[in-house]
Symmetry: C2
């Protein structure tokens, strides 16, 4: 056995979450883009967007490049989710996959259209995917649902300012359950800063716009971004 | 450029935290074991325990094997910390390292003795390490200090039952600051269950032993251990 791991392929995959209406309920729900495999193993099956890492690119760059090439989705920031390396996860050869994830706003997916080989799926109603990709999506969903309880994760779906109703809708879509508006307001208000702006549109009592309190530190931005997140970064944490 | 990543080496490293007395203050402090490199690059420098992944072993198995071979430390559970893959992190060739971490109790390190090529260091007073290992340790420390605020991380250092004073000492060692006993009790008591046991030894008012409330779910055990942690798992989350 070689001790230089030359037989191990290194790949990246991404799990991209966007909020779109559920076709039956009309409520916001989580969707992810998948790519149809055009060669073995698992030819014809749906899989997460991804591919091999090139020697000259970082892992996050490789994930972003493969995502863009296959789905035309361009998140402003990818966060590392986990490195999957079970010995038998690919039938042909040993492949270790570093998985990234991102939450994206509608304008970041507008160039990504459903076609024969790319399609958006409801994250909770996936077909049987190639490799261990169902396990990977399940883990990403679990992480997302856990993190939304203690982080400002919803900002990634909403932009910098939002109403309490918009924020509640994000939490409801992620958690898949209705939340009491008064309880929700009590829980999230300590982490928010009211802006001077309101939503315009002629209503009698227009809703106020809030932003997150940036003085409260994020939970985890990865090892290279400990300080305040850059302006265009939409960290999941 | 090959698209099958054959030029990329896949390695594992581990960051092991143990609590031992600080040689000057006598207070509990965080220590980690390091290994002296016996070949280039960075021959003679201290580095995290680690090595190549073999084709036939999972990433966590590779991390555990390399850790045991170099330091004789045997944690009951290793948690994945992060995968480091910057292009220039190794001078000779491209190496991607999956880093694991663990908190260990004193009995799990008793076979690991300081020698010429293995030594325990205060985690906050490290020399300049090989590769990007200072960055990795800094990240592990930051994760540990963040997580101790919202998880039952201290249990890994203490075993299944402990007094409030023992638990406070762990938090103080991790956070490197004194905590007010009354405030600390108020904060942690909702997550604890008092046992019927007390610490024996003839004192007038022996301190009560507590355990964590296992009905409160852990934050993150990784993708393969979503349910309750196995009896011998000491998750960091």
């Amino acid at each position: 056995m070689s001790d230089t791991t030359q037989g191990i392929g290194l790949a990246v995959s991404t799990v991209i979450f966007a909020l779109r209406a559920h076709p039956e309920t009309g409520l916001s729900a989580l969707w992810i883009p998948l790519v149809r495999r055009t060669r073995d193993p698992f030819e014809g099956s749906w899989a997460l967007p991804g591919g091999w890492v090139r020697e000259s690119e970082s892992l996050a760059d490789a994930a972003g490049r493969n995502l863009l090439e296959t789905t035309a989705v361009e998140p402003s920031y990818l966060e590392q989710l986990y490195c999957f390396g079970e010995v038998d996860r690919s039938p042909d050869r040993r492949v270790v996959s570093v998985v990234y994830w991102a939450l994206v706003r509608p304008e970041q997916t507008e160039r990504s259209e459903d076609g024969d080989n790319v399609r958006w799926f409801l994250a909770d109603e996936l077909p049987e995917l190639a490799f261990d990709h169902n396990v990977i999506v399940d883990y990403a969903l679990w992480r997302l649902r856990t993190k939304v309880e203690y982080s400002r994760i919803a900002q990634a779906f909403l932009g910098s300012t939002f109403t309490l109703a918009e924020l509640r809708e994000v939490h409801e879509a992620v958690l898949q359950r209705a939340l009491d508006p008064a309880n929700f307001r009590r829980q999230v208000e300590p982490t928010l800063v009211p802006t001077d702006a309101v939503v315009t549109g002629g209503r009698h009592r227009p809703p106020r716009l809030y932003r997150y309190d940036e003085s409260i530190s994020l939970v985890d931005n990865g090892p290279l971004t400990h300080g305040p997140a850059p302006q265009n970064a939409r960290s999941i944490a």
